[in-house]
Assembly symmetry: C2
Homo-oligomer: 620 residues x 2
């Protein structure tokens, strides 16, 4: 905008070329009557302008449904600008090319073939209502510098939006900012509870100096370049749907919403389909790494529309952790909610890894080791069984509070946020025996019955645990044994889901993005990247078979001794039970089938009838 002769057309064209968007000269849209009037030296009145301004407004609205555009127009009065930006106020950026009357007059007198007589200029200056909301650019500077300046100002729009500043959201913001991305951050305003969260967060960290902070959704969305990339880091569940509905009115076609929470994979599929009907892309992505991983580089597991993924890949792959070859621990996982499915299984495996460490620590404690000694033992295991969880558990046992160990002061009621629960449910639904995940989940549930445990502890006498006769190496081997079974089961669940839902998942690639950034990163996971290049079943890999066979005697000894000494080791025990089950050629399921046929006429198949026919016996 600006008075005639300020250079709108020249600058507008240059700017449009620079931004690679269409250019429109408002004057080209005047009706014949207006042009005639101006050619006759008459000033247009507001009535003359109204239809023309509406035409330009329609043009802008239409262009916004595609991408964006540059429109030049004098737009001298506030009410003209209101007509021009009608319904798209938040998406309109005003650039005011401003100069003195003398400057502009001089320019106009130098112009040829223009239909605007210079004598009208005075009336223009009189009419001009200088806008507050516009970026004001002095026309004295060179066109190149003007463009540079406008671009600088426009680039205040962000490349990536992050919605929801909880622990993970905040860490991802800092990660994005540290990687040089221009981001917008949003956190809702809740009176007295969540006030200026984004603003205060921005103020807290220097790397967020260029980031925009919002608690208004419209302004947040409007601050983003199109197609917009908005990553939700809010509580999984209904909240996601509410947030989507809040965002929708402000979004444009082809914008991309990324759900980085632990959403249920079935819901992700539904949301994907729903948003497709609105022209919006939806990417469900697992993000693992906790607070620190999110900050320094998490493992990221995006799924959904592959084309949409390409538009967010540069961001996610840049901020993700890197594997030992420097490749991002972020890969397009597959369609639908497959990314959130594998994140769910990741967390299931994590539940078990945590439970195994808890059981191992309990055994070490039963052997008389204090937390420092336990930490020392675990530290020694790094050589052969290194993992992130082993490392942090070592640190946990070292942590002191005064003269005491902090770990011993923590209430023994373990929380769970749904993913272990969901993995167990998914296993039950898909017919996959994820026994260790269920065991780890139920151990947390048992921990929750604290009052009942205290009551029953008094009612039942516990045996003396001093009879344990185990070496730390045997415990290490039992632990390693159970970890292999755990990883077998986790990837089995993924493989079966992939088959049943036609996801065509790449197990090796999944193992690879879990070698860094995520909670279950470990040297074992590094091995599995290679193993999965040959087989989808790790228990058919010769080296792992040998390892399992080698460690099994120790596992048997550890578990049987714990049973005899009343030390609870449900996950370690179940690992043995499972291996025995899955390697049994002829299980006792024949008895179950006979029972079912006996009481319910459910029929059975016979070993000597390969046709698979159903047989029924009158057993009485």
């Amino acid at each position: 905008m600006g008075v005639s002769g300020c250079g709108k057309s020249t600058i507008g064209k240059l700017l449009a070329r620079e931004l690679d968007i269409p250019f429109f000269d408002g004057d080209d849209f005047h009706p014949e009557s207006n042009i005639k009037k101006m050619s006759n030296g008459q000033a247009l009145n507001d009535e003359d302008r109204q239809g023309w301004l509406q035409t330009l407004n329609n043009l802008a609205i239409k262009q916004l449904t595609k991408n964006s555009c540059v429109i030049v127009c004098s737009a001298l009065k506030q009410k003209y600008r209101e007509t021009l930006s009608h319904t798209i106020k938040e998406k309109t950026k005003w650039v005011h090319l401003s100069g003195s009357f003398e400057q502009v007059l001089k320019r106009l007198n130098n112009r040829e073939g223009h239909f605007m007589p210079a004598e009208l200029l005075k009336s223009q200056f009189e009419t001009l209502e200088t806008p507050d909301e516009a970026m004001k650019i002095d026309i004295k500077i060179t066109p190149e510098n003007i463009i540079k300046k406008i671009k600088q100002e426009l680039m205040k729009t962000s490349e990536f939006g992050l919605f929801g500043l909880g622990v993970m959201g905040k860490s991802l913001c800092r990660n994005l900012a540290n990687n040089g991305f221009k981001i917008s951050m949003f956190n809702r305003h809740v009176n007295d509870v969540e006030v200026d969260v984004a603003k205060n967060f921005k103020a807290e960290y220097p790397e967020l100096a260029q980031a925009e902070a919002y608690d208004d959704i419209a302004a947040f969305v409007n601050s983003l370049q199109q197609p917009r990339r908005i990553m939700l880091m809010v509580n999984a569940g209904k909240t996601i749907d509410y947030v989507i509905e809040d965002l929708l009115p402000h979004l444009s076609k082809n914008d991309i919403i990324i759900d980085g929470g632990n959403s249920n994979y079935k819901k992700t599929k539904q949301r994907n389909e729903y948003l497709k009907t609105k022209g919006i892309h939806f990417i469900g992505t697992g993000v693992s790494g906790g607070e620190e991983g999110a900050l320094k580089g998490p493992s990221i597991m995006p799924s959904g529309d592959k084309e949409a993924y390409k538009k967010i890949a540069p961001f996610l792959e840049t901020i993700s952790a890197k594997d030992k070859n420097g490749l991002p621990c972020c890969t397009y996982v597959g369609p639908e909610g497959s990314g959130q499915f594998i994140k769910m299984v990741h967390n299931g495996v994590e539940y078990v890894e945590m439970q195994l460490l808890a059981e191992v620590a309990t055994i070490l404690e039963s052997l008389g080791q204090n937390p420092d000694a336990i930490a020392n033992t675990l530290n020694n295991w790094k050589a052969t069984a290194d993992s992130y969880l082993l490392e942090i558990t070592t640190a946990i046992f070292q942590k002191k509070e005064g003269d005491d160990w902090l770990v011993n002061k923590i209430l023994d009621k373990a929380g769970n946020k749904g993913t272990g629960n969901w993995t167990t449910i998914a296993s039950a639904e898909l017919g996959v025996p994820s026994t260790l995940i269920a065991s780890a989940l139920f151990s947390r549930y048992i921990s929750f019955y604290k009052e009942e445990r205290l009551q029953l502890n008094k009612l039942f006498e516990k045996g003396n645990t001093s009879q344990l006769n185990l070496t730390t190496n045997e415990i290490l081997e039992a632990y390693q044994f159970a970890r292999i079974i755990n990883h077998y089961q986790g990837f089995k669940l993924i493989a079966e889901a992939s088959n049943k839902m036609d996801w065509d998942l790449n197990l090796s690639e999944i193992a690879r993005i879990w070698t860094n950034g995520c909670i279950i990163r470990s040297t074992l996971m590094e091995e599995l990247v290679v193993v999965f290049k040959q087989t989808s079943n790790i228990l058919t890999n010769t080296e792992l078979i040998n390892t399992v066979i080698k460690y099994k005697p120790a596992a048997k000894k550890v578990v049987s001794q714990c049973i005899l000494n009343d030390v609870a080791t449900p996950a370690l025990a179940e690992a043995i039970q499972f291996l025995n089950g899955i390697t049994t050629a002829y299980t006792s399921a024949n008895i179950i089938q006979a029972q079912r046929d006996y009481f319910g006429a459910h029929t059975y198949q016979r070993l000597d009838d390969a046709s698979g026919k159903s047989h029924h016996t009158n057993w009485n």
Copy 2:
């Protein structure tokens, strides 16, 4: 219906009183013009009658929305009757009071104050089109006998309808018929696959001589007394909803649908609410006992609208099994889908009881016992551990096919029809550690991976199992130990569900209806009826505590030896793990909480802070 003077009003009033439904005399609904015409000795023409017949038809339709009624009307022509029964043809029962011209004339001449001149009678007899569909009653017999006869004929309508003649449906039909109930039986017609199922079934069993057999839904529904009682014995899942939609157009207000399948309890609640909007009652009921139980007396677990239950109680309580005091193993369980919830848990407990027997048999086999010896061992256990499942398992091991034992010829892939699966899911959802049910479910899942088991069996060397050193009594004690834990877990799940969903379930009463008829009936269940009168937690009962403590050493010995000898006993092992967990005053969940706080800032509570405040530590 019948000509004037046949006695319609007298008989109609008596019948209505007998059936306790309203009575309407068609003549009371004539318009003034018709009455005048008849008083003047003119015969009504069809045009005169049309509006009047429609009035009566509307009356009948309106009455049917409430209950039923008796309407008397000459209804001489077929087309009159068609108008009268328009849209309610299947719900209309015609009774034709029939006599000779002379008989009726004599009666009419004896009548006073009637507006129908006798001379019109002749035209009535000429007009009368004797109906095929009506019950024809000779007016010679006394009114008392006429009523008796009509009632007898009407009673050809059935008291109870059974929809779906699978294994369980058929057994329930025979059970109802054996108990003297007049039933209608329906099975769909599917070309070439299900043809005349109901008819053939009726022909097969003499006790079904009085039963009605249908493959047409309208005719089936129409054959039932109102309020109708229709029990669905069809496959749980979507089928139930389809069947409900098929039935709805034929039903009347206050009819009762009973779902006797293993439906998901959440679905039962939804269906209950949906059918309430249609004025139909819905009772979800568990039925256990298998084919034989359903025939001789199952355990029945109805839930939903208590008032509606009262209308079906005489049927269900009569056909159910009886407990040792002669009381029916059928009781109103509670609101919503609580009946199907406890049936689901019943099946979960059943899964475990079956799995424990399969494990026990495996151990006995490892000790060198052949099926006869195993049967003998199990038979000896009846003295202390009697149960229906123990008995049938004994019979299973005895069953021979030629010189071989049949059980050894059965394919070891165990089926599951959803309830074990659902119990595991419900446990996960409700936060209850039903570890044994999950273990039994997953054992069935493992059995399904037959090909992989054969492959891995070759890849992994199995140990020599000849080192087992166990007495059968130790195995019995281990078995009994695990069964107590199993029953603890099952009832715990019910108790928690009852709390969370405000069902107010009576655990003792639930145990009581499970003492006979159902698959998990046992002497232990008899004991629990008494135990649950004092406590909702069986592990706080002194006798059971002593039993558990007494049996635990054997359980430990059996499981640890099996582990050392590579014999899979997942459920037996888990029973020990669980007891150790739930009797541990301070579990290792503190370590889990520390880990969660370390990587996810999930916070933790402290033992020394009773406020329950969340604490967070920077562990690094």
